[in-house]
Each structure stands twice: as structure tokens, then as C-alpha cells.
């Protein structure tokens, strides 16, 4: 039985009881418990089930490395699957449910898999479910998927109730891990004056040392830690965070810190997680070491635990995981567990030590009355949902001649592996340490930073040393080295002296007993969560999946939510053995961030809901919103697609706007169009390079429509250019084009023609721009009064500065609709007032605002091309019949050279034409025209496609434009467009100008 002791528990506050539920049952724990310690205190040994075989699983560790004790935490909008009970701090009202079973944790139908385990070895699915083929989709895959996943998915419509944020922070030295090594390294580094940040994933400073005990500089460890922490807290150059995990180390000293702010007190104000983006000149990883399990049969039965974890539960939380415990080990440290347990009143049946000689700690244990069995091994742990019996045998055998002992828990220790993740994420290399049988950082091959020098140092037990004295000395040295590398002068001084306990060397034990037979190997777990056994790794090796990376992928070893923190080294040792190779030759798999899983929400940060992405707004945005705007995102801008009146469909609204603009007066918010000022003695020459047509010859006061191509020849933008004065032009771009074309101009000016005297400024947002369009356009402006907007004073394709009504403005007489039209720019701060004035004055002239769809239809009726419709990045001006805009006089402009390549000069290119369905219907968007026959790949030959297609309310029929092979030469011919609706649309090739062919309306 696992239970709470009457005394002990350095982390719990027995005066504060906390109640929580597990699978619906209400249980009690204390402030300071983790969910795991509280469950153990309530004798809830079994906490979940494994992935593949649904085997009963109990907690095996006490921290971040836990593979088994995963629960669904919280409910509704705060439900989170796969949360580790060992790192979940207990709070009042916590609700947890165990995972991966049906109908219940105790009785799980899926556990049948465990009986079938023999038929489901590693990679079994690659060999099965092949025949008969149709079974895969309907039977096999659904069956496999049925058993997928661990935790429950959150409800499909659930919305996270919490908020998240990011924070940018800069440090000279970042220390990851707040054990004695991290604390000491931070202190030494900080003494140099360097800006130091120290982060610790748990809620407590000190790491393992306070549990292990011992003395530092004559003080008990606890005391030492306390003093060191308060010392650091007073230093203004040190920033310290608990509950903040180093999640990943990235190039150029970038580190993610994952701070869990309210997980232990949900519902409190403020964000739940904060993702720190830390830039550090130097990083010290003081992330400690993780104890390895031993591989023996039944090592996955609930009640089998890491020796260090068992010690943690006793010392930190006053919980014993069993009353009759067997300790299995290959090193001296596990004796500390035996002693601790014994002192807490647990019956420690014996220490099974695979070695023949142990150190002084063994003697101490013996003196407490603990039986020590050298050269022994666990042959098998028996029991289903918890440990019942343990069979003991000789280590150097195949597992025969067993002695069975009744026990309810097993503590195991296979030695320690430094936590090298942070060292390795960004390319730090490891070396194999034969004495300790572990990989540790190779200081000669650190991750390299922007300057080509190493930027990560490892310290303490994450660097290899395990003894307190060595850990402190190593940390002190790392702190100094980091400060120095970060450009500070470390203070001289000695590391605090840790007490040394003599220990006998550990001996590598990768399998217990060493030559365990196949039946035992098939029950010796490596990866507890993914159910990978020793036999699976051996099978992979036998089948040629020899690379450690193949073995990982074939067996899924180390791919579970714990990422193999307990299993990887054991697994690769088994692999090395199977390949008759050496561990360092086999090597590790790649360490990838994050260290332990981090919430997707924290990665997203504040960017959700309202601030998911910017919405760019024109000065009249709110007005549009209040007046029925059906919004269309254009880049980050919002533009009105149509203004829908109550009772109207969007389609009706568009048609109304189209007719009204042609017949009366329409207003369009054109503020989003790009406006770039280009000024300087070389501005004309510059624009002549950028536009395909000639801009230098434009007269002051006049406007010209211009085209821009990329150097690759494709159309990229168009717009009206106005010449403002002798050396100033104003270039309009498309809505999406303002920043892009501004960037394009700067690029050419800065990187190619840097000796040309030209300045460019983006003044897009300085102005609100309104297109005043329709037969009554002049009337409304005249009614407002001010500048002369008559045909004579402001002719087509000219502009003037002046005043209209109360507003300073610049009026352009340009038209994208074929109507009498003015585009009027006023300062943005007066945009709304100007719009209001036009709406008011326009009443008697039938004014209506119109949106982008109406704009599109009006221009299509006139056969004007639209960037993004007629063009798609593969279209050149020649395709669109825009030869007139390609200057023949200019020697050079961007795109000119490209147009002479063979494919671009090919007469077979599809060319722009108008399209008119025979029956007046609307051609489907994006339809292709078919020609005769099929090509070599059996595809129908195509001879053209629709680029724009609309219903024209003015013409009361469908109109379209398209790119058609030999289009302009085939006027009147009928081509066929098969629709995806099964219909074949027939359309006649016509002139693309459908409305007012002679352009009389715009020129009045």
C-alpha cells in the first residue's frame, strides 16, 4: 500500500488541506503536493494505461521525465490531455481523469492487447493489414486509429478560457536549472557583474541535493540553498524564475523559457503561460541528471519506481509507495533510498545489487538491518495492477534459480544520465563516459553561436559529475567561464566545499539478468509509454533497422510524450549489444525541442481573437461597418465587398451598386490604394526603369496609367502615376502593392542604382481617398463647392490641388469604371468628415457607396484588367494586349530582357479576349477551354481559361474575360468550357470592352 507518513515532507504544508478529484472520486492532499504524490498518498498506485497494450501503469518517476502518470486535467474550456501528474502542482478543486482505457482504469477492454502482445511486436503493422486491399480503408485503418492517441481530445467546440503572452529578455548568462549547480553557477557568473537569468522548471530551488542530504561548506544542503537563493534574490543583475522551463536552445543564443504562471492556481488574473524569448550570450545548462530504470521482466508493473523518485516521495512529500520494498541497483546511490525508506519505517526487504562490491553506503544500510544481496538481479516482477512478488536470481545468468519474495514496491536504479537536451538542441556533441556509463557533453564540441564560438556550457550533474563536491566545483567553473565568455571579468574565489561520500564505482547493467531469456526480454520494458521492450529493439536490429534512428522509428522507442528520457540510453545499449557494436558508435537519436511538451497556446502567445493578426482599417472603417459592409480581407486590410441593406442578399446589393454607379453616383473608399512619392533629380529615370511605359515625359499636372513587371517579365502591379512637380511623382499601387512596391523601389535604389538621386516615401495612409463615380460625380463636387472640376479646368487624366467644400484635397480625374470619375484625396484625419459631406451632398444625386465587387464588375464591363485576376504571376503584358504600355523607346526597363526569351515571345501563348456565353449565363470562375484530344499524359488539351467572370446588371447577362490561345485572332468563334457542375458552357470570343466601347462616358 502506498500511503502518507505521519511526519516528513519538506515541500508540503500539512496545515493546508487540498481536495481534488481523480476519476470522479474526491481525495485529499496537502498544499505543496504534486498530483502524483497526492495520488500515492491515497494509495492510488495505478494512474494510467500504456499506449499500445493498455498495460496498467503507475508513476515511475517524480518529475519531468515521467512517462506513465499522464492524466486529463481540468474540464470544458480548461481541459488539457496528457498532463504529467508528477509536475502538476495540487490545488483545490483540481479534477483529473486517467487516460487510454475503456470503460475504466481498472477494467479496460483494450488490455486484451497485452495478451496479444506477442502478435503485436515492433513494426507489426508494416507486415500486416496488406491484404485484401479494400480492408485497409474500411477495417484495418479504422481499427488502428481506434487505438490511437493517449489523452482524450478536447471538445470539438471548446475555446481556451485562458490568455498567453510572450516576453523578450536579454541576458549575458542564462542558467537553466536551479539545483545546487545552477544556483552556484548563477552566483559565480553574477559576481562578475554580468546580467544573469536563472530558470527552474519546478516550483522549488535546490534540485536533488536537499533530498539527498549532505553538507556544503559545513551547512546542511537545505540551509545552503536557502542562503544562496536569498543572496541571489538581492542582486539587481540577477533575474530568477521558478516554474519556468528551458524549453529549447536555438541558433544564436535564442532560448525559449516556458513559464507556467497560473497552472497551479487556475482562474487567477493574468496569463496562464508566458513564453520567454531569451537571448543569451552564454548559456549554462545545469539541468541535472536523470536516473535510469533497469531492464528486467515486469519492470513496468505499478509499484516499480526509480529509486531516486521513491526517495523524493518520502523526503519531499512524506509519502511511501509501498510497505515492503525491494531495491535493485547497479550503483551506490540507490542505497540512499534504501536508507531513507528504512528510516521512514518502511520494510526494506533487500537491496539487490548487480555488482559484487558496493561502497560504504551499503555498510550503512546493513547496519540499519537491510539485507544486501551482491551479484543478484531481479528476474521478474509479478503482479498485474501492482507489485505482488519479486523473483530474484543471479545477475550473470539467464534468469533461472529464482527466489520469490513478496513485496509491494520495487525501487530501481540503473545509474544516472546527464540531462543533455539543452546542450544538444543546437548541435552540441556528446562523449561516452565508460565509467559512469552515460553520455555527457563534449566540451570540445559545443553548439556554435553567431561568432563561431561555443555558447553553451554544461554544469553540475548535467555535465557528468555526480558527487556533491564535484558538482559544486564544476558549477563554479562554468559560472566563471560563462561570465568571461560573455565579456565580464569573473571574480576569483573558491567554490563552496561539498561533503564527499565515498562511493564504489557503478557497473553498467543493460539487462537484468545479463543473459535474460527471450521470454523475460519480451517482458522487459524500455519505453513504458509506447510499450517498447528489449525484445523489440533486438527484433529491429535483427531485421536490419540498424541505425539508431531506424530502431527508434521502427519500434517507436523514445517517441512518446516523455521523449525517451528514461528509455533512450537503455534502448541504445540493447541495440549496441544486438549489433555487437559499441554504444558510442551507435550514438543517440537527435535531441529536439521542447524539453518537455509546451502548450501550443503559449507558442501562439497573445495572437488570438482580436489580435490574431492586424486588421488594417481606413479612416472610414467604422462607417462601413455600421452601414452593412460585407467585409473582404485584402492582405491585412479590410475592404467592403458590398454594402448590404436589410433584406438584401449580397448579390442584390452588388447589382444595385453597379446600376446606381452607372446611372447616378457611387462612392468608393479607395484609401487602401498605395501612394508612393518618388522625388529627386533621377526620379524620372528611375520610374522609366520601373514601369514598362515612359514616365519621365509625363507633364506636371497629368496622370498616366503604368505597368510594372518583375525582372522575370511577369506583371506585378499597375496604377496611375501623377507628376507632381519637376522632380516629384506620385505613384498609385494596388491595395496589396503599397508595401511590396515601396520595398521593390527601395531595393533597386539601395542595391543596384545607389548612385541615383531619388527618395521614396510611402504616404499611403496619410490620405483618405474617395472615388466619386458616375454621371452625377461632377454635380456633387460642384455642390460642395471649391475648386473648379469642370471638364476644361480638370480634364481626364489630370490632377489638381485645391479645396472641395471644407477640405484641402488633391483631385485626380481618373476612372477605373469608365464613368465620369474623380478620385479625391484628403488628409486621413478628415476622411470620415469628407465622406460624410459627400454622402450628405450626394443625397439629391442618388449617392450610394459601393464595394470592391461592384468595382470589379464596372472595370470588367470596360475590359480593364485587374492585377490578381487577369494576372497570376505568370502573365506578361503582351498576353493582355497591353503592348501599348511597353515603351519601344526605352533601352531598358525591368522585365524587358525577360520578354525576349523564347517561351515569352511564343505566339502560342494564350491572349486576352472577351467572352460572352451563347445563352447569356455567367461562365464559371476559373473554367478552362478545351481543345481537341489529349496530351501524352492523357490529359484533355486546354486552349484557354476564364480570368474574370461576372453578372453585369447593366447588360443583364454574364460577361467574362479570359486568356485564349490565339484569342484576339479568333473573334466570333465559339469555345467550350466544361464546368465542374457537369455542364458545358459555350462562349463566343469577343472584344473585352463590353460597355461604352468608345469611352464617351468617362470623358464628359
Amino acid at each position: 500500500m502506498s500511503t502518507r507518513l505521519a511526519k516528513q515532507g519538506r515541500l508540503i504544508d500539512r496545515s493546508k488541506q487540498v481536495s481534488f478529484t481523480f476519476n470522479g472520486t474526491t481525495l485529499q492532499g496537502y498544499q505543496g503536493d504534486t498530483l502524483a504524490s497526492a495520488l500515492l498518498a491515497n494509495d492510488q498506485m495505478m494512474m494510467g494505461r500504456s499506449f499500445k497494450y493498455h498495460r496498467p501503469r503507475g508513476v515511475v518517476a517524480s518529475g519531468a521525465e515521467e512517462p506513465n502518470a499522464l492524466v486529463g486535467l481540468g474540464q470544458g474550456s480548461r481541459f488539457e490531455p496528457n498532463q504529467r501528474a508528477t509536475t502538476t502542482e495540487l490545488f483545490n478543486g483540481l479534477t483529473a481523469t486517467s487516460q487510454n482505457h475503456w470503460p475504466s482504469l481498472e477494467f479496460d477492454v483494450g488490455a486484451a492487447n497485452t495478451a496479444l502482445a506477442r502478435f503485436l511486436p515492433a513494426g507489426f503493422y508494416y507486415k500486416m493489414f496488406i491484404h485484401p486491399k479494400p480492408f485497409w480503408k474500411h477495417i484495418y485503418e479504422p481499427f488502428i486509429r481506434q487505438s490511437a492517441g493517449l489523452g482524450k481530445a478536447p471538445d470539438k467546440d471548446s475555446r481556451d478560457a485562458d490568455t498567453y503572452e510572450h516576453f523578450y529578455f536579454f541576458a549575458d548568462v542564462l542558467v537553466i536549472g536551479g539545483g545546487v549547480a545552477g544556483l552556484q553557477a548563477a552566483k559565480t557568473a553574477a559576481a562578475s557583474g554580468a546580467r544573469v537569468m536563472l530558470i527552474e522548471q519546478t516550483a522549488h530551488w535546490g534540485g536533488r541535493a536537499p533530498v539527498d542530504g549532505g553538507r556544503i561548506s559545513g551547512e546542511p544542503v537545505d540551509k545552503f540553498v536557502e542562503q544562496l537563493v536569498s543572496e541571489l534574490e538581492t542582486m539587481s543583475n540577477v533575474t530568477m524564475r521558478t516554474r519556468c522551463m528551458g524549453a529549447g536552445v536555438y541558433d544564436h543564443g535564442y532560448v525559449l523559457g516556458y513559464e507556467r504562471l497560473t497552472d497551479h492556481k487556475p482562474g487567477t488574473q493574468g496569463p496562464r503561460h508566458r513564453l520567454w524569448r531569451i537571448r543569451a550570450k552564454q548559456i549554462v545548462t545545469a539541468t541535472g541528471a536523470i536516473e535510469r530504470p533497469l531492464s528486467f521482466a515486469g519492470n513496468d508493473v505499478p509499484g516499480v519506481m526509480l529509486a531516486s523518485a521513491m526517495r523524493d516521495y518520502v523526503v519531499n512529500w512524506g509519502v511511501i509507495p509501498g510497505e515492503r520494498v525491494i531495491v535493485a541497483t547497479n550503483n551506490d546511490d540507490a542505497y540512499r533510498t534504501a536508507i531513507t525508506l528504512k528510516q521512514a519505517g518502511v520494510d526494506v526487504l533487500r537491496v539487490v545489487d548487480a555488482r559484487n562490491t558496493a561502497g560504504p553506503l551499503a555498510e550503512e544500510a546493513r547496519q540499519l538491518g537491510i539485507r544486501v544481496d551482491p551479484g543478484k538481479a531481479i528476474a521478474k516482477v509479478k503482479g498485474g495492477k501492482r507489485v505482488k512478488k519479486v523473483a530474484i536470481c543471479n545477475q550473470d545468468g539467464i534468469g533461472g534459480a529464482r527466489e520469490e519474495v513478496e513485496a509491494d514496491a520495487v525501487a530501481m536504479s540503473g545509474g544516472w544520465s546527464p540531462v543533455v537536451h539543452m546542450w544538444s538542441h543546437c548541435g552540441g556533441k556528446l562523449i561516452w563516459d565508460d565509467a559512469q556509463a552515460h553520455f555527457r557533453p563534449d566540451p570540445s564540441r559545443p553548439p556554435l553561436g553567431a561568432d563561431g564560438e561555443g555558447f553553451v556550457l554544461a554544469a553540475g550533474s548535467s555535465n557528468g559529475p555526480l558527487a556533491l563536491a564535484d558538482v559544486l566545483a564544476d558549477a563554479d567553473a562554468a559560472g566563471k567561464a560563462a561570465a568571461k565568455a560573455a565579456g565580464h571579468k569573473p571574480k576569483r574565489g573558491k567554490a563552496p566545499l561539498g561533503e564527499t561520500t565515498a562511493e564504489a564505482p557503478m557497473e553498467a547493467v543493460w539487462l537484468m539478468p545479463a543473459n535474460a531469456d527471450i521470454q523475460l526480454r519480451g517482458k522487459s520494458w524500455l519505453d513504458f509509454q509506447n510499450d517498447v521492450k528489449v525484445s523489440d529493439v533486438q527484433l529491429a536490429a535483427r531485421e536490419g533497422y540498424e541505425s539508431v534512428e531506424h530502431t527508434k522509428r521502427y519500434t517507436t522507442l523514445g517517441m512518446a510524450t516523455d521523449q525517451g528520457k528514461l528509455s533512450n540510453i537503455n534502448g541504445l545499449a540493447i541495440l549496441a549489444d544486438a549489433l555487437e557494436s559499441e554504444i558510442p558508435k551507435v550514438g543517440t537519436t537527435t535531441f529536439r525541442p521542447p524539453y518537455t511538451p509546451i502548450s501550443l497556446a503559449s507558442i501562439g502567445g497573445e495572437a488570438r481573437g482580436d489580435v490574431f493578426q492586424p486588421i488594417r482599417q481606413t479612416p472610414m472603417h467604422d462607417w462601413h461597418d455600421k452601414n452593412g459592409a460585407d467585409w473582404e480581407p485584402v492582405g491585412h486590410w479590410r475592404r467592403t465587398y458590398a454594402y448590404v441593406r436589410p433584406g438584401e442578399s449580397v448579390h442584390d446589393a452588388v447589382n444595385r451598386e453597379v446600376k446606381n454607379t452607372r446611372e447616378n453616383l457611387g462612392l468608393l473608399d479607395a484609401s487602401t490604394l498605395g501612394k508612393l512619392i518618388v522625388k529627386g533629380p533621377d526620379a524620372g529615370k528611375f520610374l522609366d526603369m520601373l514601369y514598362t511605359n515612359m514616365m519621365s515625359t509625363l507633364k506636371v499636372g497629368k496622370c498616366r496609367y503604368g505597368l510594372m513587371c518583375s525582372e522575370n517579365g511577369f506583371l506585378v502591379d499597375d496604377g496611375v502615376v501623377a507628376r507632381i512637380d519637376e522632380d516629384t511623382w506620385l505613384c498609385h499601387t494596388t491595395t496589396g502593392g503599397a508595401e511590396r512596391i515601396h520595398g521593390h523601389m527601395e531595393e533597386w535604389l539601395q542595391t543596384e542604382w545607389w548612385d541615383w538621386k531619388v527618395y521614396v516615401a510611402n504616404v499611403t495612409e496619410q490620405y483618405a481617398q474617395v472615388a466619386v463615380v458616375g454621371p452625377n460625380a461632377r454635380k456633387v463636387l460642384e455642390k460642395l463647392g471649391g475648386m473648379d472640376v469642370s471638364r476644361e479646368a480638370l480634364p481626364f487624366m489630370e490632377w489638381r490641388d485645391g479645396r472641395i467644400g471644407d477640405f484641402d484635397c488633391r483631385a485626380y480625374r481618373i476612372s477605373f469604371s469608365g464613368e465620369l470619375s474623380y478620385e479625391i484625396a484628403v488628409p486621413a484625419s478628415q476622411g470620415q468628415a469628407f465622406w460624410d459631406a459627400l454622402m450628405e451632398a450626394g443625397k439629391e444625386f442618388g449617392v450610394m457607396p459601393y464595394g470592391t465587387e461592384c468595382l470589379h464588375i464596372l472595370r470588367a464591363e470596360k475590359g480593364f484588367i485587374m492585377i490578381g485576376d487577369e494576372t497570376d504571376g505568370t502573365v506578361i503584358p503582351q498576353d493582355l494586349g497591353l503592348h501599348w504600355a511597353l515603351s519601344k523607346k526605352k533601352e531598358d526597363y525591368l522585365g524587358k530582357r525577360a520578354h525576349s526569351r523564347s517561351h515569352m515571345a511564343d505566339p502560342e501563348r494564350w491572349k486576352l479576349a472577351g467572352l460572352e456565353t451563347v445563352d447569356g449565363s455567367v461562365l464559371p470562375d476559373g473554367a478552362y477551354a478545351v481543345g481537341e484530344g489529349v496530351n501524352a499524359n492523357g490529359q484533355r488539351n486546354m486552349i484557354g481559361r476564364v480570368t474574370s467572370t461576372y453578372y453585369s446588371a447593366n447588360l443583364e447577362r454574364g460577361i467574362a474575360m479570359g486568356l485564349i490561345k490565339h484569342g484576339p485572332d479568333r473573334m466570333g468563334e465559339i469555345v467550350e468550357f466544361p464546368g465542374t457542375d457537369g455542364k458545358a458552357y459555350k462562349a463566343r470570343i469577343v472584344d473585352p470592352v463590353f460597355y461604352d466601347k468608345d469611352g464617351e462616358k468617362q470623358n464628359v
Binding site: K127, F129, G149, G544, S599, Q939, M942
Partner: protein, 414 residues
Amino acid sequence: MKHYSAFAVAREALRYHTGWERAWRSPEPKKRYDVIIVGAGGHGLATAYYLGKNYGIQNVAVIEKGWLGGGNTGRNTTIIRSNYLQDPSAAIYEKARGLYEDLSQDLNYNVMFSPRGVMMLAQTQHEIRGYQRTAHANALQGVQTEWITPERVKELVPIINIDGPRYPVLGALWQERGGTARHDAVAWGYARACSAMGMDIIQQCEVTGVRQDNGRVVGIDTTRGAIDCDKLGIVVAGHSGQLAEMAGFHLPLEAIALQALVSEPIKPCMDVVVMANTVHGYMSQSDKGEMVIGGGTDGFNNYTQRGSFHHIEETVRALIETFPMISRLKMLRQWGGIVDMTGDRSPILSKTPLGNCFINCGWGTGGFKAIPGSGWGMAQLMATGHSPLTEAFTLDRFKEGRFIDESVAAGVAH
């Protein structure tokens, strides 16, 4: 080669699986081969496989500097679809998709091709037009796709947030026969089948030089010695530039990092693959339960197999907006691959300036889905000198201005 089947597994179970043979042999390189393929990724292995299967050319070696399948084939988000816009792309990807349908049976290795359907969301008017255009083209190309309504989207993907708030789902291009496959299994299955034909797959063997005589390749230098060959196929994705350099020509491509990530596994909640281009992210759920997520590329040349974290961030926030319920799931692991990007983002399957040397590269962010089709076409090209599948993807298209640009239909390339 032992036949794989449920029966075989059951039989082996009785002897604790001690009777399985190696999936592929691990031979010493011979002095000479008819054909050497450099790169044991999916494309290289498939090329070798179809050389043997379709043309009887079996004296073939596949040379791999690391472990087979360890390049992009082993690190991609496994999306398979063929709803491409341009004819040449639609042809080769549809060929591949068709071959995927029977690949498990063909190779006697379950690659778990899962035709669960691929959906590309339209979230702007522009995307609607782009995807409707693709749907029209696909109908003529013999690729089965359809344009579906937002309601149907929601039906297929209950966890999606179709009404915005920022980018409401306006519809989607749906390819019901698209899906995913188990990436590693594709490489392993081909490798096993190649090995069974007697081909040599030589791992841990890096090609360091291309030996030539009179404008023709005569062999290669490797870290395990020189090997002669009659024909050489270079199929090394991100490292194509290096190999081309060794062969004395230059390729119009750049090596760039692309990243992906997986969440912790959860019970099945999404049965189809969803790609959202406007917000830029895509997601599917593997048969094991992780949400498999991919996004955008870095903008700079990089060989580290790591990328910049801010791309992960952009992708994740896009997907939380699209599938709000994933917000409290956790990222389990992230990684990167080095993709080879050409000027028009389409692949190169081509003869080279060296008469008997062929190149297959430039698959960039989207070549997993193409593996069988590419192998098929490449084998045909190498064996006969011509393949309709590869014809448009030549090296000289850039000079002529004859691009195969898929981005035009608002398409993402994965």
C-alpha cells in the same frame, strides 16, 4: 524474401519473432553497377525500384551517406494529393497518387497509405477563385477533386472554426482520394523490394566525387572507395547543389530549412488533412494520434536541419485560430528538413550536361507525395531517354522562361 502477412506474423510469434530476416541486405559495394543512384530517400529508392521492375535493370546500387530514408523522406508531414493546377504537375502527382493506392500490395510492405481526403481551405475571394480554377483544371486532367461548401467542410472536419472570426471558411477544394502515408514505411518498403531484386543499398557511404571521361560519367568516389557505373542518377534533395558541383554543373536551386512539429497524441478527432493557405498552416492527425503540423520555410540558405522558431509560432497561431480546440494541446517535438527550392518551386527531372547523368531534385516542400510517380518517370527517363511524365521538368526551362508555377492558384506546395 519472406512474404509479409498476418499469417506470417502469427507464425513468427510462436518463435518469439526470431525467424524474421533482414528487410534489406547490407552489402559491400561492388566494383561496378549498371546504374548508380545517389541518395536513398524515397525518390532515389523508387527510381531504383522501377528501373528494376519496369525495365529489368537490376544491377543497381543506391548510395546513401547516412541511413536510408533519413533525409526529407523521413521528416515530412506526409501529405499526399494531386490537385495541382498545371498539367505537368497534375500528371506526375496523380500518377504517384495512383501508385500509392496499390503500393502496399506492390511492395508487400504496409506503407499505410490512408486516402482520408485532403482539403484546402478557401478563406478569401482570391482563394475561392484560385481553387475553383484548380477544380476546373483537375477535371480535365483526370484528377478527381471538387469544390465544397463551408457546411460540408464543417461536416468533414468537426473541429474547424468555419466562421472566422478573421478568415471565415468560404469553401474548400477537396480531394477525397488524397491523404497521407507512413513516411518511413515508404522508404523501407521500397528499400526492401529493391534489395529483394538484388540491388545493393549501401548506407553510411557518402559520395564525394563524380568521375568523368569525355563528358560522360564513368563512376563515383565515395567514402568507401570508387565505384564504376554506366549511368548515374542524382537524387539527393537538399544536397543536390553539392552533387551537381561534384559533377561540374550548377543547379538553379537553393537549400532552405522547412520545419514541422507534432503535438502529443490524442484520441482521433480529425479524419482528413486540412491545409489553410491564407493563415499558412496545415494539419493532419497521424494514426498514432499526434497532430502533425507544418508551415512555412525560412528565407535563407541553411544546411542545419533546424529552422527559425518564429515560423513555428506563425504556424501554430494560424492553426489555433482555425482549430481553437488545439489551443491546450502541447507541442511534443519540432524538427527541420533541408528542402531544395528551384526558381519556379517545381522539381527538376532531367538529363544533365553529362550525357549519362540524370538529376531528380527540386521537390522542395512537396515531394513526398510524388515519390512513386517520380520514381516511375525517372526510371523511364534513365532507361529510355524519354518520359512524358518528366518532359516538362527539364533544366533548360528556366532559360526559355517556361516555368511551372503552382503558386498561381493560391496553392501551397506541401
